[in-house]
């Protein structure tokens, strides 16, 4: 008997997007059910419907064979459905125990005071029961991402969740944290919980799930037992065609230095040094990948190099000319393109049209602007070309970017940045939150551009991605560069891991060698 069943769910958004079109999902008690599909396939929408964040246009939901109307998340919680969002919904300035108890906190002194001790005890007990280690008294903003995620899971369990929906839980985790998470998920199932696991990483599906429901283009493609399938088949179901997970990467002789960074340092407003004396070079026709656990200065490095933050010390030269200190325009005019880490914050303006998003770096010069006026015809036709060339799924360039799926949004960014005839591309997390089909596309684009002579600085939290694409790999730890290696077959994840965790540090002379 299915524990929870969604039958023929249809969801049409006000803007006309049909996110679910007759989707059914059946999850049995005690199973780990993976829901996979490309971004925009409708997975998140389906889960939002189960959690009461969205109302289906048609279709019904049954819980233990009872028809239920989940009109809002509170109803879902009362029914024992919990959800852990991709973006954590925690109060950063509260302790972990406070976050977990929030809204259900025990009180003392006649209801006037929050019983913190009880919250801490409860958190401890819950944490031990499910093997989800957290530090109840730590403030949320001081703990690593992995622990925050465990807090989210505990929060759901504290509210009596029997069914846990995990929305892309591994997207923000390091490999080590992912392993921990999987252990925790297995514990949960052993304790009688049911887990719905949304992802597009097939390797994880194979590793953790019992059954898989595959979605594509708002439809359900099929349900398979994990034991009876393989990655290639799932990928085919997801994308609707054969997917080549390998990138075609011909060897290329690297050219002259494009970017040279000298002793770059960044100290934030509170006086913490987040980037310390970083020096490196990126050459034509090479991808320099930066490996490192997130939060070790990569973000600051990228933002300083692209002009979004002012460097505290140090210099950067593009083609021999200093570029820092005059804002992003100057850097862009030195032919530096930038795929920002946080697409929704920096990369696009959701409310603006695709066309407007495509010209942010060039609107002020011909052909976009002629004699002081925007040349709309030229803009439209150029953008139409880009939409075409980069296979952006959009009926018109006049559509707001916010109406596109994550992958297509990223393609808008990619189209803009790669069409700016760059000398250097700084790509931060270029495939984060992007589906397999688009990942494949983006990887191939990056490699092709590099083969054609582009210098690329790649930052990714996904170590495999870095190892797959890079010609050289630079490891950052605690704001410093601790090693630079040529990407030879003998460079293993384990070896890089030692550097990433700060256990090893490359001698300066050796680092010099690989510059």
């Amino acid at each position: 008997m299915a524990l929870i069943e969604a039958q023929n769910i249809v969801k049409v958004y006000p803007n006309g997007v049909r996110a679910n079109d007759g989707v059914s999902l059946s999850v049995e008690k005690g199973e780990i059910h993976a829901l996979v599909g490309e971004n925009g396939a409708g997975k998140s929408t389906l889960m939002k419907i189960l959690y009461g964040l969205e109302q289906p246009t048609a279709g019904e939901i049954r819980l233990r064979d009872q028809l239920v109307h989940i009109s809002n998340p509170q109803v879902a919680i009362n029914l024992g459905i919990g959800m852990v969002h991709q973006n954590f919904m925690l109060v950063n300035s509260f302790s972990i125990a406070e976050n977990i108890a929030l809204g259900r906190e025990g009180t003392r002194a006649g209801g006037l005071m929050v019983d913190r001790q009880k919250a801490i005890r409860d958190t401890d007990a819950l944490s031990k029961q499910y093997g989800l280690f957290v530090n109840p008294t730590a403030r949320v903003d001081t703990v690593p991402v992995g622990m925050r995620q465990r807090v989210e899971i505990l929060k759901a369990l504290y509210r009596g969740a029997e069914i846990l929906i995990l929305d892309e839980p591994t997207a923000v985790l390091t490999p080590r944290e992912t392993v921990d998470l999987f252990v925790a998920i297995r514990n949960l199932v052993n304790e009688g919980k049911t887990v719905i696991f949304i992802t597009h990483k097939l390797r994880e599906v194979m590793e953790i799930s019992d059954r898989v429901t595959v979605m594509r283009d708002a439809h359900k493609v099929g349900v398979v037992k994990t034991a009876e399938t393989n990655e290639a088949q799932l990928a085919r179901m997801m994308v609707g065609r054969e997917v080549f997970m390998q990138v075609d990467k011909p060897p290329v002789q690297r050219g002259e230095t494009v970017l040279e960074v000298r002793r770059l340092t960044y100290v934030n407003e509170t006086g913490r040094t987040l980037l310390h004396h970083a020096s490196f070079r990126v050459n034509e026709a090479e991808i320099l990948g930066i490996a490192g656990v997130e939060g070790n200065g990569q973000t600051e490095l990228v933002e300083v190099l692209t002009g979004l933050r002012a460097a505290s010390a140090g210099e950067a030269f593009v083609d021999g000319k200093p570029v820092l200190g005059h804002g992003p325009r100057k850097i862009r005019e030195a032919h530096v393109a930038h795929i920002p880490e946080d697409r929704l914050t920096n990369g696009v303006a959701m409310l603006a049209t695709i066309n407007d998003n495509l010209i942010i770096d060039r609107y002020y010069r011909p052909p976009c602007t002629q004699v002081g006026m925007l040349n709309l015809n030229a803009i439209r036709s150029d953008c139409a070309d880009l939409i075409n060339q980069f296979s952006i799924l959009a009926p018109s360039g006049e559509l707001p970017v916010g109406a596109l799926s994550g992958g297509n949004m990223q393609k808008v960014v990619l189209a803009r940045e790669l069409s700016s005839s760059p000398r250097l591309l700084i790509a931060a997390q270029p495939t984060r939150g992007v589906d397999i089909g688009a990942i494949e596309y983006i990887h191939q684009q990056l490699v092709d551009q590099r083969t054609n002579g582009l210098a690329i600085l790649l930052v990714s939290a996904d170590l495999q991605e870095v190892m797959k694409l890079s010609d050289r790999i630079m490891v950052m730890y605690n704001g410093e560069i601790v090693g630079i290696f040529p990407n030879t077959p003998d460079l293993t994840e384990e070896k890089l891991g030692l550097y990433m965790l700060g256990a090893e540090r490359q001698p300066a002379a050796e680092m010099e060698m690989y510059l």
Binding site: P14, T345, Y363, C368, M373, L374
Partner: protein, 707 residues
């Protein structure tokens, strides 16, 4: 550039043109004062007889065009704007009703009079406080008066004093007084006052012969008789004497047959204890036939009266709510409408004191509600159609709209960049000040130079006053909301200071500058008895187009839009956001400065205190209603100015405070900001469309395509 219209756009265009033409027709109809019973020829004459009728038509066509623009720009949202205003109007109607809940008070408020008419001999001839002078033994009279008998009504316990004294000093008369009760028993007699009494009543008593009955306590309520006559020794003396009846007690009767009407004001406003019922007493004799009138005094009042006649025991003898038309006819001029009340020809059953009660006729609650609705309708009629009821009001509407549209444009530009600058007010003050000063001091420069110079200076002043908060924000991180509000205060006070101490002529009675000489004024294109619409219309057309071109077609406009959409994105893309924000606020300021110039050079023609009372904030509403789209601002500005003018008319014609209109305005703002309402409608529309599609078996194919 080619224009290809899709079917949908064509439909929209058709709808827009029809709506625009209807509007132009309706407004022109009213503005020219046409009516349906005119022949076409008369209509033509009426039109051509109107001053500046071509210009009026031109302006009306512009109104139509702004409507068309609004519909084309906002499409479905156009309905939303109208809906928003509609809902606000309904809400305002309810509010007006609330203010009119006591509308029926007009029937119970006002001055009234009560008259008592009878041919019968009055039972009483003297009252407390009366002094009657009689000439005794007049040799010329046919039957000379030798003694005087008076009747009065008194209440038990009243203390009365009766005096009879010679009217002249050292009168030869020697009076005597007798006080009798109704049965004729003598209660008190007096021949001469003693010295103590003379002192007590020295105002009255002057000679030794005067008589007084002092401080007599009446034993019962009823009639009493006073007989005053000369004592025997002076029985034949021809002289005047005065009979006075004094009492500190309230007279038991207040009305006598044929006496002057009595009255008062019912439910007078702003009194602590308003009069709601008036009671009068009179003494009536058995068989007396009396007629009682209760009527509103002075015209122009809706007071509806009720009158009741009761006998001494409180039994109602007669009552009346409304006089008949014939009665009104026969009792003119006292009675003026059937709302007055009359008790006609009632024969009194016994001697005694009768009570007349006059009060406003009580209203049933349905009548009260009806009256509330009637008053509200009257107010709303003035509100909704007032601005078109006379040509000069139409001028005021358009004139105010010009200012509001300029301010709306100014606000729309900064809001487009998501900068919540509210500095238009201050910029407007500076614009007005600078343009007026130039007009005042260079009055002899030719108009063709002076007017552009003044306008340009006003724009520059606004530009600089906008640049300032922009710079404060860009370089010091000052919140524009706070800084602009502070700068508004500075600008307003500076304006007042210059006006009061520099521009005001020393002999002027109130604070204003001199009139700006003609060379410094915007030339009128329509002039209705001094209320003018000026060439500001053309300036405005240019401004609207420029603002639209700037936002949609220029790099700076693109920057403004991108900063508005996502400032981090703009910054990431290389936009110099600081510079653009400063420039945006400055450009907005320039337009607000021009709005100020329009106030000074086009409307007031001089500087006055409070030249704008929060006009700029109404510009915010205009911009919000137009979704910050410059092409829609003219329509929303006209709409809003119409509501404003209507409000004034309502205030003037229907005596409703302008606060109601403020409430309506606030509701409009609330509704605009309540975007949830909007998505609700959208969702409903989506659902309907979905139903429609599924019923046709037509499922839209999801977007296909390979990555």
């Amino acid at each position: 550039m080619t224009f290809k219209l899709s079917r949908q756009q064509l439909q929209l265009l058709t709808v827009g043109i029809i709506a625009a033409l209807l509007l132009v027709g309706a407004i022109s109809w009213k503005a020219y004062g046409l009516s349906a019973d005119m022949s076409p020829r008369e209509m033509r004459d009426a039109i051509t007889a109107t001053v500046d009728y071509q210009a009026i038509l031109f302006v009306n066509l512009l109104i139509g065009f702004s409507t068309l623009l609004m519909i084309m720009q906002l499409r479905g949202d156009a309905l939303r704007v109208l809906l928003t205003v509609g809902v606000a109007l309904i809400f305002g109607y309810l509010m007006t009703m609330l203010f009119n809940l006591d509308a029926s008070v007009v029937f119970s408020r006002g001055e009234f009079r009560v008259s008592l008419l009878s041919d019968a001999v009055p039972l009483t001839s003297i009252n407390y406080g009366d002094e009657l002078t009689v000439e005794l033994n007049d040799p010329r009279a046919e039957t000379p008066i030798t003694e005087v008998t008076h009747h009065f009504t008194g209440t038990a316990g009243d203390v009365v004093s009766v005096l009879a004294f010679g009217a002249e000093r050292r009168s030869k008369l020697n009076m005597q007084l007798t006080l009798l009760d109704n049965a004729g028993n003598v209660l008190q007699e007096n021949l001469d006052a003693d010295d103590a009494q003379k002192r007590t009543f020295r105002r009255y008593l002057q000679s030794d012969g005067d008589a007084v009955v002092e401080g007599f306590v009446l034993p019962a309520t009823g009639f009493y008789t006073i007989i005053a006559k000369p004592e025997a020794d002076t029985a034949d003396v021809n002289a005047e004497f005065t009979l006075a009846l004094l009492s500190d007690n309230a007279p038991p009767v207040t009305l006598a047959y044929g006496s002057d009407p009595v009255g008062g004001i019912f439910n007078k406003e702003k009194t602590d204890a308003p009069l709601t019922t008036a009671t009068y007493k009179f003494s009536g004799g058995k068989g007396d036939m009396v007629t009682i009138l209760a009527y509103a005094f002075r015209g122009e009042t809706d007071l509806d009266l009720q009158v009741t006649l009761k006998d001494a025991n409180g039994e109602v003898l007669a009552a009346n709510n409304d006089a008949s038309a014939e009665q009104v006819e026969s009792y003119r001029p006292q009675l003026k409408s059937t709302q007055d009340a009359i008790i006609q020809n009632v024969i009194l059953p016994a001697d005694g004191i009768y009570t007349i009660t006059a009060r406003p006729e009580p209203l049933s609650s349905s009548a009260q509600l009806r009256e509330t609705v009637r008053a509200t309708n009257k107010a709303y009629d003035a509100f909704l159609f007032g601005p078109l009821s006379r040509l000069n009001r139409w001028v005021i509407w358009i004139r105010d709209a010009l200012t509001l549209i300029m301010l709306g444009l100014a606000v729309a530009i900064v809001f487009r960049a998501e900068q919540f600058s509210l500095g238009s007010e201050g910029q407007l003050y500076f614009g007005a000040l600078v343009s007026a000063i130039i007009g005042l001091y260079f009055g002899n420069v030719p108009k063709t130079i002076l007017v552009p110079m003044a306008l340009l200076s006003a724009a520059t002043a606004g530009f600089l006053w906008g640049l300032l908060p922009g710079a404060l924000k860009a370089y010091l991180g000052a919140n524009e909301l706070v800084s602009t509000l502070m700068l508004n205060t500075i600008a307003t006070r500076f304006y007042e200071m210059v006006l009061t101490f520099q521009l005001k002529p020393p002999d002027a009675g109130y604070t204003s500058s001199e009139w700006i000489p003609n060379n410094g004024l915007l030339a009128p294109i329509i002039d209705v008895n001094g209320d003018q619409i000026t060439i500001a219309v053309f300036i405005l057309i240019a401004l609207v187009l420029l603002a639209w071109v700037m936002i949609q077609r220029t790099p700076i406009g693109y920057e403004i839009r991108m900063i508005g959409a996502n400032i981090k994105f703009a910054n990431y893309g290389g936009v110099n956001t600081r510079r653009t924000i400063m420039l945006t606020m400055a450009i907005s300021g320039a337009i607000a400065g021009l709005a100020g110039a329009h106030l000074a050079m086009g409307i007031h023609r001089k500087l006055i205190l409070n030249i704008s009372v929060g006009l700029a904030f109404e510009g915010v509403v205009v911009a919000l209603l137009a979704r910050n789209n410059p092409l829609v601002v003219p329509f929303t500005g006209l709409l809003y100015a119409y509501l404003r003018t209507g409000a004034q008319m309502m205030e003037r014609d229907a005596n409703i405070s302008a606060e109601v209109v403020r409430i309506i305005q606030a509701v409009v703002i609330l509704l605009i900001t309540a975007e949830a309402l909007v998505s609700l409608f959208q969702q409903r529309r989506m659902k309907q469309r979905d139903k429609l599609m599924s019923s046709q078996g037509d499922t839209p194919a999801p977007a296909e395509g390979g990555a």
